[in-house]
């Protein structure tokens, strides 16, 4: 998969990838000449296909661990079949002792597993705004959410309301 900046005729470079939201991954690519960014959205099937091929967007510099795909992806695995630092169903990098395991962190990163909920550090969403967000098509929702949060932060809004979404709407092709 390759991307070309048609203005510069330059190959775009991978920049970043988000963890899946509702199974959909967003990958960012940037033109090294004009710094134009584009976002590529993988739908849940495409995201799952990438996982099943044991491939990582942006490259994988970590050495492969024995049976890493089976060990990290088998939901019905028995605990004792896994090394003591890994149990199925655990969150990213979490161990049976509650600590963080470097191996499972690598695996989780490799497969871009769903991130554990974290406390929001930016603007908070009102119930009405969240409801409107849900109406945005799933495959563009992560990017729209990032864009609205960025707009709110840049314009000093502590809470994202319907009015803030209206103000941000001009920046997005999708209607919400």
């Amino acid at each position: 998969m390759k991307f070309l900046c048609t203005d510069c005729d330059t190959a775009m470079k991978f920049k970043d990838v988000t963890r899946p939201e509702q199974g959909s991954v967003t990958a960012l690519f940037e033109c090294p000449d004009c710094f134009t960014e584009i976002a590529m959205f993988l739908n849940p099937w495409e995201t799952q296909m990438l996982k099943s091929l044991d491939l990582k967007l942006g490259g994988n510099e970590e050495a492969a661990q024995p049976m890493q795909m089976v060990r990290s992806q088998l939901e019905t695995a028995k605990t004792e079949a896994m090394p003591n630092e890994f149990s199925p169903g655990m969150g990213s990098g979490e161990t049976a002792e509650g600590g963080k395991c470097p191996f499972t962190s690598v695996i989780s990163d490799a497969f871009q597993e769903e991130a554990a909920p974290v406390e929001p550090s930016g603007p908070v969403w009102s119930a009405e705004a969240l409801e409107r967000l849900e109406r945005i098509p799933a495959f563009v929702r992560p990017m729209a959410k990032m864009g609205i949060e960025s707009f709110a932060k840049d314009n000093g809004y502590a809470e994202i309301t319907g009015e803030v979404m209206d103000a941000a709407r001009g920046n997005f092709p999708a209607q919400f």
């Binding site: 099937w45 091929l53 491939l55 942006g58 490259g59 492969a64 089976v70 992806q73 088998l74």
Partner: protein, 295 residues
Amino acid sequence: MRTYKELPSDAGSNIIGQVTAQMNRLQKRLASVKHTVAIMSGKGGVGKSALTANLATALTLKGSTVGVVDADINGPTLAKMMGVRSATLEYTPAGVKPAMTALGTKLISMDLLLAEDDAPVLWNAHTQKDAFTWRSTMEVGALREFIADTEWGTLDYLLLDLPPGTDRLPNVAELIPDLGGVVVVTIPSEVSQLIVKKSVTMARDILKVPIIGVVENMAFYVCQHCGEEERLFSTDEPLDTAFQQGLLGSVPFDPRLARSGDDGTLYLDEYRDTLASKVLMEVAEKVQAFFEKSP
């Protein structure tokens, strides 16, 4: 505007490099395996797994070092049949130590990883809906890891017990381009032979994989009281001519063989003088002879 081939590489993910690394890992592991053999049929219920378990045992008894991959990811039975179901896999940086039978045959099977008897193979996913789009890819990935990441050591033979379906061998041939050969299993019924013929065509004509030969399983039944042989399948048709030419052996149905599979005991070790054992040992000799003739 430049085209796909004119751009120097992908955007930085190096997908081809990642896939190449996977295949290199596989090849490195297979470098210490002399011969790889797929046990296939295409048809379900003909006794592929029982034959695999006993062929592995026969080769081991003949002094060969043998590893077995239970390639039936969704219906794994070999751990039970070979009596190693309670084994705990040990993970090391070099790989996963396989389960080992009392005679020293090594085995890797999905059954050794599943939580409960009634637990199906279920993969983590945002949704299981439409899993048909990626599940078979996941299964091939699991098979690749079973072969590449198991610490086999040096093996004379690595046997792969394939699940039913004529589409299974191409997956294995993709992973193991130098597949040494295929042992085909059928039962005497016309229905079985109808399907098995398709698998033979796939192996011989499409994939160009050497056919070691055919095993006719459950060929007849020996009465334990009078010793008379009775055919189990009331077909008037003899075994297909193409199958007869490469026949490795006709294994009689022996209830003790079925019982051994359920009990996880090694039939060949326990009943060395039965007719079925003799035929199975002959099959193993013919497999060895095949590779001695064509190294």
